[in-house]
Symmetry: C2
Subunit: 119 residues, 2 copies
């Protein structure tokens, strides 16, 4: 309570929450590409793609290698580890606590439950 911030996960999950950005990542999975090349595959403007790439870069999912005019973007899977970790941890923990709750409800009804009331 109090400090529950983690801008790492914020940017990560925020980055992959957008369908265009997920599609850009898929595009990069088939190989490194320049901004213009990526933009050619999408119905949006070059500028818009450039902004998406900046966000992906900030999240660490994309790495930029500048050679002359050209910016070569490539994937970096490493940050996905943190995301996978969060999800796996919570997925297991929730199922666990849900099972515990069910046992609790089944075994030990606290306040008298009047199932005659509405629904």
């Amino acid at each position: 309570m109090g400090e529950y911030r983690s801008s790492q996960l914020d940017e990560l999950f925020g980055a992959i929450a957008d369908p265009t950005r997920r599609a850009i990542l898929d595009r990069l999975a088939s190989g490194e590409a320049r901004v213009t090349e990526i933009a050619a595959d999408f119905p949006i403007s070059l500028n818009s793609v450039s902004k998406h790439l900046r966000m992906l870069e900030r999240a660490g999912l994309v790495v930029r290698r500048v050679r002359g005019r050209d910016h070569h973007l490539s994937l970096n899977a490493e940050p996905l580890n943190a995301a996978a970790e969060w999800i796996e941890h919570h997925r297991q923990f929730w199922e666990q606590s849900l099972a515990g709750l069910e046992q609790f409800v089944t075994r030990k009804p606290r306040k008298k439950i009047q199932r005659s009331s509405r629904q």
Copy 2:
């Protein structure tokens, strides 16, 4: 290409991209709770918490059971499966394609690389 939308993942990743919402999920992991109870643990208003809960509910991560005045919120881990699936798939695939790319670069330099230029 063209149809690359998936509002399912959009809402899912969008929901867990916010630190307050992740904290709310953590709170619910320790047991079902009402809106007021949840709000008591956070420095924001009851209304704000109510909105966050609505988004979590829309993403399917939280289930609401209304009994009289009280809304009981509980977790639903199921949607996390889709998220985990996306992440795992891409994590493995990226590492794989990265390895392939490295081999490619090492073995077969295409255009003559003049490393004498700047940087």
